[in-house]
Amino acid sequence: MAAGSSDKFSVLLPTYNERENLPLVVWLLVRTFHQSGNNFEIIIIDDGSPDGTEEIAKQLEKIYGSDKIVMRETISVLFSSGTAYIHGMKHATGNFIVIMDADLSHHVSLYLIKQKEGNFDIVSGTRYKGNGGVYGWDLKRKLISRGANFITQVLLRPGASDLTGSFRLYRKEVLQKLMEKCVSKGYVFQMEMIVRARQLGYTIGEVPISFVDRVYGESKLGGNEIVSFLKGLLTLFATT
């Protein structure tokens, strides 16, 4: 079914030390949904952040109402995206689920139009097609990104241009089904979701997104990350 007025969108926001960015993301989401007139809720899953993220989330809940902002805390160390989504989905009352990062790297825009267009099960944001792109990356970072994506395309032939992105819209039942099947951690998990979705015959639409990197200065992409990416990729290659 294409998105209509009876639809509700649950936005899952896993956070760790996002005290500064969280209110901004929430404000942008609220504005976006008010403009589109869609029913929504924002579910914040905090990993026991020491910087007061939880406190600010509670303030936001007071301001916007607890039907709109749902604050759930997970106290665990270094949870992976998968765990956060599982926790988040338990509280989601919408029939569409939006997954995005809370650090403002995803320019908040709507996938709803795309979903309506093609009635897709999944809408995935891509930095590599159309007028999608990045801001704040140097040549080396871009090269690694394109190189990794190329290898992924050759090995997995996934039918989607951006696999490591984490700005996506899923139908709730589709996400639940995929969560059961996916076993990887971290961003390999995001890749596995798309690959399995293809195998299960779900339709995937793509939307160009702009990834504005504000944290790149702090977190360089090191050798370790690259090695673990390759390990994850080869695991997917051998098991899917």
């Binding site: 209110p23 942008l28 403002l104 320019h107 801001y135 190329f150 702009s210 504005v212």
Partner: protein
């Protein structure tokens, strides 16, 4: 079948075809010039693929969009958000 499985099947298929034609077991004999041309084929294909990869990644790197507008828009949005949130009573 897994992707690895598909690759292995493909390689076995092409590999045995190449071995049969180029390495010339007694039962199957192609004229010498053909066999000589086929022999280095795997290496040629690897090199060709290598060149294709370099060219593709290079092209994609060069055409990787820089989202200046998105970054500027984000800055504006952030200012608007901070103002409005302050007005609504958020203590940063």
């Amino acid at each position: 079948m897994t992707k690895l499985g598909q690759w292995l099947c493909g390689l076995v298929l092409l590999g045995s075809a190449w071995a049969a034609l180029a390495l010339a077991p007694p039962g199957l004999r192609l004229p010498a010039p053909y066999r000589q041309a086929l022999l280095p084929l795997p290496v040629y294909l690897l090199v060709a693929f290598g060149c294709y990869s370099l060219a593709t990644v290079g092209y994609r790197l060069a055409t990787f969009n820089d989202c200046e507008e998105a970054a500027a828009e984000l800055q504006e949005d952030i200012s608007a958000a901070r103002e409005d949130l302050r007005r609504l009573g958020l203590r940063f």
